[in-house]
Symmetry: C2
Subunit: 523 residues, 2 copies
Amino acid sequence: MAMEHLARLKTRLGEIDDLQRAAQVLSWDQSTYMPARGGAGRARQLATLGSLAHRLLTEPEVARMLAEAEAEVEAEGLPSDHADVVLLRVARHDRERAVRVPRALMEEIALATALAYDTWVAARSSDDFAAFAPHLQKNIDLTLRKTEHLGYDRHPYDALLEDNEPGMTTERLRSLFDDLRAGVTPLLEAIVAHADQVDDSVLYREYDEQAQLRFSEDVVRRFGYDFSRGRLDLTVHPFATSFGHGDVRITTRVSPTFLQMALMGTMHEAGHGLYEQNFAPELARTPLAHGSSGGVHESQSRLWENVVGRRRDVWDYLFPLAQQAFPEQLGDAEAETLYRAFNKVTPSLIRVEADEVTYNLHTMLRFELENDLLEGRLAVADLPEAWNAAMQRHLGVTPSTNTEGVLQDVHWSIGYFAGFPSYTVGNVLSVQFYDAAARAIPSIPGDLAAGRFDTLLNWLRENVYRHGRTYQPDALAERVTGSPITAEPYLRYLREKYGALYGVEAASAPPLPRQGEGGEGRA
Amino acid sequence: MAMEHLARLKTRLGEIDDLQRAAQVLSWDQSTYMPARGGAGRARQLATLGSLAHRLLTEPEVARMLAEAEAEVEAEGLPSDHADVVLLRVARHDRERAVRVPRALMEEIALATALAYDTWVAARSSDDFAAFAPHLQKNIDLTLRKTEHLGYDRHPYDALLEDNEPGMTTERLRSLFDDLRAGVTPLLEAIVAHADQVDDSVLYREYDEQAQLRFSEDVVRRFGYDFSRGRLDLTVHPFATSFGHGDVRITTRVSPTFLQMALMGTMHEAGHGLYEQNFAPELARTPLAHGSSGGVHESQSRLWENVVGRRRDVWDYLFPLAQQAFPEQLGDAEAETLYRAFNKVTPSLIRVEADEVTYNLHTMLRFELENDLLEGRLAVADLPEAWNAAMQRHLGVTPSTNTEGVLQDVHWSIGYFAGFPSYTVGNVLSVQFYDAAARAIPSIPGDLAAGRFDTLLNWLRENVYRHGRTYQPDALAERVTGSPITAEPYLRYLREKYGALYGVEAASAPPLPRQGEGGEGRA
C-alpha cells in the first residue's frame, strides 16, 4: 500500500525547501549583483519567504501529517536507518525546535539584531565599542530568553549548539579546546622562534585579477567542482550556497596584490560546494539535503583548502599551472616557494586571516568569552579588556583598537552565538576525514600529487557527502573514521607539517591538563 | 479610527507581492546566470512560489478581508479615486479572476504548455509543424475551456484580452488594425518603391561587444534609467523585470557585427524599466505597482526606443558619443548616416526584427489567425498555409519554411493567446503619449535634441508612470492625451517621418474601409 500520509508530508517538506532555496537565491543575488538601492525591498521579500516557510512547518496540520506518516512507517516495520525513518526523525526534530520559540520573540530578535547589525557596522568603522555595547547586551538578553524556550541541561550554550552542532556540548568543546591549546602552544612558540624560515613575499606581487579568477576556477574544476551545476562570482564576504542539487554556487574576492585571497578562498568555498553538489539526488527537496552540521560542512572547506590545497606534493602538480597563469610573477619561483608562502604561520589579530596553527586559538577565545557573557561571568562593559587580555595570553599579540579586536566579527551583532566552535570542529574533522580516506585508499596521496583528485572526492562522496544530514557529526565521524570528533589527528598533522616546514621537529605536547567545568580555564 | 481590516488586507497583498517579486528574481537569474543544470530545481521553486501566491490570494479568508475592508472604506466615505478605493477595486478584480479558473484546469494547462513548449523548441529547429500541431490544438482547447470559466460577451478572445489589455475588445482591435493597415499599406508600397534611399551597411561592421554594452548603458543612463536601482545584463531573449521600487533590471543581447541589436534593445528595455522605476513609491508591495496594461507598458519601450531613440535630432546629440565609442567604425559616418540606418524599412518575415512601419502588420496577422483558431474558422492543420498567405497579402513576402513562418513565436506554445495586440497598442500609444507631452511642454523637442531627456521623463512620470495600474489604458489615454487609444497620431507620425526619409511625401491614406465582425477581413 502506498504511504499516502508520508507522501503528503513530503509534498509539504518539498514546498518548505523550495521557499528556503528561493530565499537563498535572493540572498545570493543580494551579495553579488543587487543594485545599491535594492536592499529594503529585498529584506521584506526575505522576511516573507522566511515567515511563510516557518508557517508551513509549524502549523498544527503538520503535527498531524507527521504523526500519521510515523504511524504508516511503523506499520510497515521499516528499519531505523531506512531513508523514510531518518527523514521523519529529522522533520520532527526541526519542527519541534521551530515551535518552541514563540513567534513574538522571533520577531523581537529579528528587529533587535537588524538594529544591532547597523550599529555594529558603524561602531566598527569608528572604533566605538561603547555605541555597540547596549545592542550586544540586548542580543545576549534575547538569546538567553530563546535558550529558555529551547531548553538545555547544563549551559545555555548547549541549547544554541544544537542547531549548529547537533549532539555537541559545552563540556566536550571545552575539553577539545584544552587539547588543542595544549598541543598548539608549544608548537607555536617554536615556530615563532623560527619565523624567518618562511618568506611569503612571492604572494604580494601584482597579479591580474581576471587571471587570478581564471586560475582559481581552473583549480577547483580540477578538484571536481562541477560548473555545469555551479558558478563562481565575486562578492565582499565569500560564501557557498545551494539552490538544489543542480545549482550550487560559490563566491570569492580578489586582491590585485595578494595571490592567496582569491585562490585559497575559492578552494575553501569549493570545498563547501563539493559537499552540497554530492548529496544523494534523492535527498533533494527534503530537510536531509544539508550538511550534517556547520562543523562537518567546514571540515570540507578546510579539507580542500588546507589539507589538499596547502599540501606540499599537490603544489608539485599545481605549480606549473600557476606559472602558466602568472609567467612574469612566478618566473623565478618554485613549487617549494609557493608551498612555504601559503603555509606561513603568524600570530595575528584577525581570525579570518589566521593560519592552520593559530586559527583554533581565535575560536577558543570567542567560545570562552561568549560562554562567560551568557552565564554572567563577564559584563559587556568589560568585554574589550577581556578580549585583549585573552589575545595576549593565547597569541601573544594585543589589538590596539577594538576594531581589530572585539568588533572584528559580525556574529554577535546578528545575535549569532555558539557559531565559532564549528570552525574548530571543521579544522579537526578535516584531518580526521582525510586520514581515514588515506587509510582506506593508500593511493590517495600519490593520486593527489598527480592531480587525480577524484580518488579522494569519490571516497568523500560515498562516505560523507551523499548522506547529507542523515548522520549527526559524532555518529558520522565514528562511522567514517572509527572515532568521534577528536583533536589528536589534527595536532599530529600540525606537528608533522609545520615541524618540517619550520625545522622545529618533534615539538611534542606536554601531558594534557583537563579543566573542570566552568573553571577560569584561561588563566 | 484606523482601518484595521484594510491594514490586514494590505499585509496580505504585500506578502503576495513579495512572493511574486521573489519569483521574478528566480526567473531573472534563470535567464542570466543560472548554470546549465539548474533548470529542474528552479522550475519546482517557481511552481511553489506561484502556487503559494495563488493560494494566498484565493483562500476564502481573503474574500472576508476584502468585504470588511470595503465596508470600512465605505464607512469613511472615501471618494472613488482615493488610493485605497482604487486598491480595493483592483484587488477584488484580481481575486475574482483568480478564483474563476479551477485549480485542476490551471494545473492541466501548466502541464500541457510545458510539454508544448519543449515540442515547439524542437519543432522550430527541425522545421516540423506537424510535430507541434497536436500540442497547439491542445493549447487551443484548454484556452477555450479557460475562457468559458473567465466569461465573455461576444468573443472568447475578449476574455483573454482582459488580463493584458483591460477594457479592450476584439471589435475595437479589429477596427484599430483596419485603420493601421489602411494607413500603412500605401506608405509601405511607396517606401518599397524607394528602398534604395536608405543604406544601413554602417550597422554591419565589427563592433566590440564590451564597447557596445558600455555605450548602450551610457545612452540609457542619459535617458534617465537609474542604475542605483537597476542593472543591465546579457540574456538570450531580452526582457525587463522589477523586484520592487529599488530594483528594476533590464537585459539585452549583443551582436559583434550588428550595432542595432544591443543599442536599440537596451533602449527598448530601458523604456520598460523607466516605467517601473517611476511608479509612485507608495504603490510598492501592492497590486498597483504594475503597468496599466501590456500595451501601455510596451508604449514606453517603444517611445524610448523609437520615438526618442530613432529620432533625427536626438542623433545629432548621440552621434558624437557613438563616434567616441566606435572611432574606427564611425570615423567616416555622420549623424544622418546612423539615423537613416536605424530607420530602414524592409518587409520581412520575422516580427521581432520588424521596423516601425511594418511591425503592426505582423501583429495584425497573428491577431486574425488566433481569433480564427479560437472561433473554429481555421483548423490547426491549415494554419501554415493561412500564415503564409497572410504574409504574402500584407507584407508581400512568403516564408520558405515554417521555422521562419508560423513557428517563429513562442507565444502559442506556452498557451499565450491574445498577447500580440499589446505590441500594437504600445506602438500606437507611444506616439499618442509623446505628442501629448510635446503639446504640453513645447520645449521637449529642443530638449531632446540637446540631450536633456529629463523634461520628457518628468512629464511621463507625472502623467503616466507614477500611477502604475491606477487607470485602465483607455482611461489613461483619455486623461493624458484627450483621446482613447487611436491609430491616427501613429499614422501621421509614420507618414511624416518616413515620407521625409524616403522622399515619398504625402503618401496619404485612402478612405478607411471598415469590416464587419467575423468577416473574412483578410481576403
